[in-house]
Symmetry: C2
Subunit: 492 residues, 2 copies
């Protein structure tokens, strides 16, 4: 192989970074912490966006766009929000450069200082609720169901491609409702949209759950989340949906006249997923050969590699490939014929495996004679010889099977790493082994913090739709009463 | 009408602003110069994006994403580029806020000053060519055909919704080629993609042309553009495509090994359109009743308004509407039934006219009896009674006709305002009347500047595909020889 990938077992972190860079998904840029998303990586993100955007619209949401900049004072309006987001962020202080009077290049023009500094949005609750104030007068203006696709900036000190970058791409939904019940329902609806997307498109078996108080979004009353297990047994939070209560409505003075004529504060939710999902996708399914992409998010579904010695053979094989390509594309899939003349087929095989293309079709002169093709699936690396007749439906069914198999594999992996534990000793051992540990907890932030200090494990969520357990028990740490098991794990 | 719009003839500028705000397209935000794009406005932008994105992909381009921030020093690398873009821009100087030690709120943490200031991208040539440096080694890596959809910031002093805002949304294509000829071909291909999009989707009869030296993009060898006439006779530049020569390759040291083994600098293009297109769309077609949207960009194609007195009538009409809706939607169009119970139908008619929905269908009890509907088209405001049988294909054909009619109307308007002029006196008169003036020019920047000073008219372009005129003549200003007529106009 031309591009060697570090083995997953040898160095998981390096393996991940190798994949991202060598499969041409993303790379670090000249700007600290900011990444370049390369065309192949961006094509996957576009597929994610398209599926999510469709699901948002089906649930009644509309896209809009709010400013990149937030006046500094807005951040302070909501007391908890400022604690969470006003720390590490990009601050715009000036609006002009000028020719350097003392040498080459340009310098900041000291006379162009802004009256109030602007923050590059780390999240948009404040600027959006300041806007909603003007949109909402009466109950007839509600609900407002907006989403925006945008870039945000959080000045992270330790960055990793896709998982934690200073700038990242995301969507943020911001909804306004007349009642508490309706906002809670929306919050739940959207975490379920995320769960469905993760399971059906990303082949990612996520757990839907609720964050503990200390892990909540800054300014939220309740945070729901989806949590996924990576192949090192660590958890990755893949999406969150927040019930914000009336916190932002009160901070920005957003009230509506109810049907009965009284003036009420508006109820809010916000929810988001980001390019972090790319990290989850890569980490959950890939192997030492490279990416393993679920067909529904693969930019290329089938790659065809011709095997030939003579020019005549090449010509006949490419002709055959073009006709098979048409048949497969008619099923709605994307096919690429790798006709590069300067590379051996072994090199090509390795490269497309690295890039995670779900199905590879190779055709040699013998195949041409026999009316067969050699078909290799990326998820299992199995090869088979099949007749080229009816290739379109064959590939369609195969891709469907691959999509399900990738999910099943990730599901089985997680199941093999989930355990119920009732003593702190076993807890520590299982956390060290890289497990999701279902354990009783006394419900206090103190215990949660102690456990994290001692084991680096955090409460990923109080599970709702997977491993729900409301049986009473005793906290593994304090021995105090617990009203159900929660999911502990080390996390990204 | 509930929301009155200032008449176009009375105050064109106020009329425009009224439309943007009252039709719920966009509004000013709390951040100076930054707009909020509201859901209805964003839905139009999404339709523009979808059509353009498809056309980019059909011509072989792939999307990618590059950082929001540009190191200050990058801007100085290309001599002309820094002149054009390093003036008014948002400068990030710090990466942290802290609790105000002297009072409430947060302040910039003076210890978190960046070593090198970051500029919020006003355009991305520099950061992208710095990246391409690592992507390009040999002729086999070329061409690179990337596009990005992104936000950019230029600190404009006088802003107008969509036309000139501090932050705006756009796409920027950045391509790298082995030869000069290939880059020039790409530059021409993309201006033609823009022209096709403007004409076929926006119903906008644009002129494809070449910018004079003084109007060129900062850092370009050649800038091609599409120019459209607004209803006040002013020109609006709707898109540009730049041949950048080897300027950025040289500034960032991007060379490739040719097939013959020599080391060559790479050739570049860049091209972009922005949310400014929204301004062009609104200004080109709307009237005193509101927006007039070409069907291909309308978020809602057909609105249905029930006319009734009794509850039974209402029920029967809505039932009928639902069945017609299904028929029309089967043709691929979007239909909305305006069933709001608190508004008169006259108010609804006015509101949907304001929003520019191409077709309105009203059904009353008599229509129900007769099997007819009242159909009103937004472009001509004509009404007709038609049978509800076969409504799907009828509406399809009607929308097609509306799309063409809007183009024809804008085309005829422009033709009525274009004139060839051979004396400077007539030139000044025609410019004052709001015309596109085709006149001879001596080819010098001095004459161009003088004319602009005296008349506010600029050379919009040296026309290529519309009004091309390579006949020799004498400059209207200097009397010196001219090699063809150029398009003069006042511009946005």
């Amino acid at each position: 192989m031309a591009k060697e990938v570090t083995s997953k077992d040898e160095n998981y972190s390096l393996w991940y970074n190798n994949l991202v860079v060598k499969a041409d998904l993303a790379e670090n840029s000249a700007v600290r912490g900011c990444m370049v998303i390369k065309p192949y990586g961006y094509a996957i993100w576009e597929k994610m966006q398209a599926a999510l955007d469709r699901m948002f619209k089906e649930t009644g949401h509309k896209n809009a766009y709010f400013p990149l900049f937030i006046p500094k004072s807005f951040l302070s309006r909501e007391a908890e929000h400022v604690e969470g987001f006003a720390k590490e962020c990009a601050v715009v202080t000036h609006h002009r450069l000028m020719t350097n009077p003392d040498g080459p290049g340009v310098v900041v023009d000291p006379s162009a200082r802004l009256e109030e500094e602007l923050i590059v949005r780390p999240t948009s609750e404040t600027i959006i609720w300041n806007t909603y104030k003007n949109w909402i007068k009466s109950y007839r203006d509600l609900p407002i169901l907006c989403n925006q696709w945008a870039n945000v900036v959080r000045w992270e000190m330790r960055t990793r491609l896709f998982l934690r970058t200073a700038e990242f791409l995301w969507q943020e939904g911001h909804t306004a409702h007349a009642t508490r019940e309706e906002a809670i329902e929306e919050c739940e609806r959207m975490i379920n949209v995320y769960a469905k997307f993760a399971r059906e498109y990303m082949s990612l078996p996520v757990i839907v759950g609720r964050k503990t108080e200390s892990e909540r979004f800054a300014g939220a009353i309740d945070t729901l989340c989806i949590e996924a297990m990576m192949q090192d047994g660590k958890a990755l939070q893949a999406g969150t949906s927040h019930f914000l209560g009336q916190n932002f409505a009160k901070a920005f003075g957003v009230q509506y006249a109810s049907r009965e004529g009284s003036l009420e504060y508006v109820w809010a939710t916000s929810w988001g997923v980001s390019t972090r999902l790319m990290g989850a996708l890569i980490m959950a399914h890939s192997d030492d050969h490279g990416l393993v992409l679920p067909p529904k998010l693969a930019p290329i579904h089938v790659v065809m590699v011709p095997i030939f010695k003579t020019d005549d053979e090449r010509k006949a094989i490419i002709e055959k490939m073009n006709s098979l390509k048409t048949e497969i594309e008619a099923q709605g899939f994307t096919v690429e014929i790798d006709d590069r003349d300067n590379l051996r087929s072994g090199f090509k095989f390795a490269e497309w495996e690295l890039k995670g293309v779900p199905v590879r079709i190779a055709i040699g002169p013998r195949d041409l004679q026999n009316g067969t093709v050699e078909l290799a699936r990326r998820d299992t690396l199995q090869k088979e010889s099949v007749g080229s007749e009816g290739i379109g439906t064959y590939v369609r069914d195969l891709l469907d099977d691959i999509q399900k198999n990738i999910y099943r594999k990730a599901y089985d992996f997680r199941e093999s790493r989930v355990c119920k534990v009732d003593t702190y000793d076993e807890f520590k051992r299982k956390i060290e082994e890289g497990c999701f540990v279902l354990a009783h907890w006394d419900g206090t932030s103190e215990t949660e913090a102690r456990i994290q200090e001692e084991t680096k494990a955090t409460i990923r969520c109080i599970p709702i739709d997977t491993y729900p357990d409301n049986g009473k028990g005793s906290c593994i740490y304090s021995g105090k009463p617990s009203s159900g098991r929660v999911v502990f794990a080390k996390a990204y």
